[in-house]
Amino acid sequence: MQSVTDNIFVVVLLAIGGTFVMVVSFILIYIRNQNKMLLQRQQLQHSKIAHQKDLLEAIITSQETERKRIGQDLHDDVGTALSGLRLTIELLQSQPAQDNDKYVKLSKDIIDNVIKDVRNISHSLSPPALTYYGLNAALEEKCSIINQSGNLNIKLVNNAQALLQDISQPVSLALYRVLEELINNTIKHAYASAVNINFTQIDDGILLIDYTDNGKGVNIGTTHKGMGLQNIESRLTVINATYEINTAEGAGFNVNIKCPLNS
């Protein structure tokens, strides 16, 4: 009996020790995994916050740039023209009456120029075609102006006519600004000769915008995300749209934008 109980004593000790080691190991692995997951979540949260901060900064900077541009336009064009008009009127007072017609014509020309400048500024702030005729018409107008320059040929294909008719004003304005930014980027950086913009309806109520240029392209991995692209992203985020960029050095630039229009 003594030897049997002694054996049991060894078995009990081994069982207690073994279970203890296994349980402690399980707990340590569990704790390590929990802490690792927490760390990953915190890193993800930090990167999300940093990204949101970048987007907000891009919005503020672009607003400031736009204000500066409007201010400059008003100062350089409208301000200068109105100063010229003032001088012309002063000259008119000191000149003999027979020269009046010449100065009146000059004044009218200056006023016409001011009207044109103000219209241009107001159009750039809010394109009237977008308000009255919709996204497609506003883009066609924009494209035809650029095509007239002869340096870049933009082809716009609309296969989502029905979908674009019901598009809300904030969404159409956001998409217009995004495409305007993309065209500006193509003009400024891509040295492209042609741009294709296709509107297609994919799933129910989802608009796909396929924008492609035949420019020099960029290496997304090495290129820093510029203000323009951040602006695009922030505008698309607001309207719940997603985008995917396909580009490489020497292979042109393509972006696919998926925008849900039902909501």
């Binding site: 109980t5 002694d6 296994m22 349980v23 402690v24 569990y30 929990q34």
Partner: protein, 210 residues
């Protein structure tokens, strides 16, 4: 030396979580309070046990009485932790108490027999509670570190002691037939794990903040 460890040092170690708990009691929520009062109950039974041993009175009856009460404390602790299965846990307590009575009067009847079956089952169920808690926590996204949650510490205290104790209680009646030295060694190993449990309780209480 081992006898001193088992009879005096281990029960004294119970003061570590009790003192920590007493200091931090104002920060305790209901769940941690149940764990604290469980330890108070453990302290009282340890004191009675020491008294019985000092007078060479058989303490197996004490084990039989304390087991269902001890189990009820732990079950109510987990009932408060889980917030669900309230009725199920109440049923488990009732059925286990009934089983303890059957074990005491029928299955393991006798003055010198420790309730090894009910103790082993008690440890088995508590280990099950602890693993269920782990499972419940693993699907929740926590904003705080694992170590900052006091319930986590109390839970691992129960898991370590109860899972290691299952084997101990299964063979406890066989061990009583072994030599005194053998019993001393086995009980000192079990009590060392009990001290670890007390320390983990103390850490859990210490982690309680306003």
């Amino acid at each position: 030396m081992l006898l001193v460890f088992i009879l005096y040092i281990v029960p004294c170690c119970l003061l570590i979580p009790l003192v920590t708990g007493f200091i931090k009691y104002k920060f305790f929520d209901t769940t941690v309070k149940i764990a604290f009062w469980y330890l108070v109950y453990m302290a009282i039974t340890s004191a009675i046990n020491i008294f019985l041993c000092a007078r060479h009175i058989n303490d197996s009856l004490l084990f039989n009485i304390t087991t269902p009460i001890e189990f009820a404390f732990v079950s109510f602790f987990y009932r408060d932790v889980f917030r669900i299965w309230n009725r199920t846990i109440l049923w488990i307590v009732c059925i286990f108490t009934l089983f303890c009575l059957i074990d005491f009067f029928v299955i393991q009847a006798g003055n010198n027999i420790i309730n090894s079956y009910s103790s082993a089952i008690e440890n088995f169920i508590i280990a099950g509670y602890a693993i269920t808690y782990f499972n419940q926590q693993s699907v929740i996204e926590h904003d705080d570190r694992w170590s900052n949650n006091s319930i986590n510490w109390v839970n691992i205290a129960f898991l370590i002691f109860c899972s290691s104790g299952i084997c101990m209680f299964v063979f406890v009646n066989y061990l009583s037939k072994a030599s005194f030295q053998v019993n001393l060694i086995v009980w000192s190993v079990s009590d060392t794990i009990l001290v670890i449990q007390y320390i983990l309780f103390a850490v859990g209480f210490y982690k309680c903040k306003a």
